[in-house]
Symmetry: C2
Subunit: 263 residues, 2 copies
DNA sequence: TATCTTGATGAACAGCGTTCACTGGATGAG
DNA sequence: CTCATCCAGTGAACGCTGTTCATCAAGATA
């Protein structure tokens, strides 16, 4: 909206110098020109509707009401598009400034927020898994993580691995979440249950399955059947993360309660 | 070799009752009949030669000198084939019997052996990542891991997560290894270097890239440039694993040197 | 007004997973 | 010995995929 038309009462007549959008004598009603951003946006729409396996260039083009080949003017290839989606997913994702006193909470928040981003679009973990975050847009995030580790006092060799370890954990966890979800969706494959697959039911089935295993061969799986697949993944996510965080903490040179380990 | 023909001097005439192999009047020289096993075997051959992206049913069929549709008599679908490859990869993969005194070494060995299996075929981590190990063939491995965790004294909630955590770490690490390898291969894309991509060179390039980042924005990445991508991935793999193991160890109720944590 | 640029078109190519009517050679029965 | 049966493997087809390229209409520029 231009400022020239802002204070006119309603439907101002087109001023000849303003040269408004030509309204396209054709059928297409004033379509906004294609852009890389719009292609990525449409790709997300298709992804959420059809999943990664249903995300084809033709579907994206259809979403935009445009031919396939038109996409290639804005996107180099499908892999390129996926990479754009990947980096765009973490747009505005900020790693907090390192605070040595709160490094564990900061990492917990970071991981939770990262998981939420991955959960915000279907099959996003699969896309994320296929990319190394060493692109120009994602490097600040890596740097931010390293800052937290190093100012917390972790040895450099540990800090260098910790970022990848945590990122891999997040990706892997959400990936597994998605796989359960997909399996639940295609099992109770009615059209009605496609929208919200009955995840609780599938979790119960898995628990029953584990509990039904022969005691002689699978005593531990039976014993933990109630814990392997739980209703809320949030708890499980935090537990795995805590394991990593406590592992990292064990490398801090001066623990408050404990003597320094000589490693 | 039958015992009837064992003591004849050389090229014994075909005894009519023995009904030896009909020797196939046609061109095809006594081709062994197709089988699920042979299909999987051929799929591995194609995978190692062409990578996962080049692994198509048609290529597998060509590897066997057979039409595509012939495969579908032995394999339900391509996904089915991939799952067969996945479970077959861990054929004979034994988790040692749990020894509470050596649980950390046992897990270290397990993880290293798992990584070696994944490295034994190209792109195998990508396939592994797409599968949950809760199939009948892989359940004993899960059980074996749980046994190690529980007899070591880990709380059940921790034990239930530890297996997935370690498996995810192995998969993720090898996946990343493969991605670097692929990138190195397609960068120095000469036919000569395709066989053994110059991995050292690419590692050096990445180190230089990190070291060349602006000091103001990326002090930590610069400082750790020599550690983020190293020549031998083995060290890096062990370090990440040690972080996890020390995290797990922190949940043991009675540490030798330390007071029990109240969690 | 004539030329150039730009963005979208639609047809085409090679390859993909999967299905299905079919066939040719081996097997077993009468 | 002949016939019927069976079955593994065939080849063509369907609809889909990612990608390329000559074409074209329309707006901008000279």
């Amino acid at each position: 909206m231009t400022d020239a038309a802002a204070d006119s009462p309603a439907t101002p007549p087109p001023s000849p110098w303003e040269r408004e959008r030509p309204a396209r004598t054709h059928a297409a009603p004033a379509r906004t020109p294609l852009s890389r951003e719009r292609v990525v946006e449409a790709a997300f729409a298709v992804l959420d509707r059809q999943g990664l396996d249903g995300l084809s260039m033709r579907q994206v083009a259809a979403e935009l009401g445009v031919t396939v080949s038109a996409l290639y003017a804005h996107v180099h290839s499908k892999d390129d598009l996926l990479e754009l989606m990947y980096t765009r997913l973490f747009d505005g994702f900020e790693v907090p400034e390192a605070d040595p006193e709160r490094w564990q909470e900061q990492l917990l928040d970071f991981a939770r927020a990262g998981r939420q981003r991955l959960l915000s679009h279907r099959d996003m973990a699969r896309i994320s898994m296929a990319h190394v975050p060493f692109t120009a847009e994602l490097l600040p995030h890596v740097e931010g993580l390293l800052a937290i580790f190093r100012t917390a006092g972790l040895p450099d060799r540990i800090a260098a691995e910790a970022g990848g370890l945590i990122s891999t954990y997040i990706d892997g966890f959400v990936l597994e979440e998605g796989m359960w979800q997909d399996r639940a969706a295609q099992q109770g494959g009615d059209a009605s249950s496609l929208a919200r697959p009955d995840w609780r039911e599938m979790a119960g089935e898995m628990q029953n399955y584990f509990a039904s295993l022969p005691e002689a061969n699978f005593p531990h799986l039976r014993a933990l059947s109630g814990l392997m697949v739980t209703d809320s993944s949030d708890e499980r996510f935090d537990i795995g993360l805590q394991i990593i965080l406590r592992g990292l903490a064990s490398y801090l040179p001066d623990q408050p309660d404990r003597p320094v380990p000589d490693d």
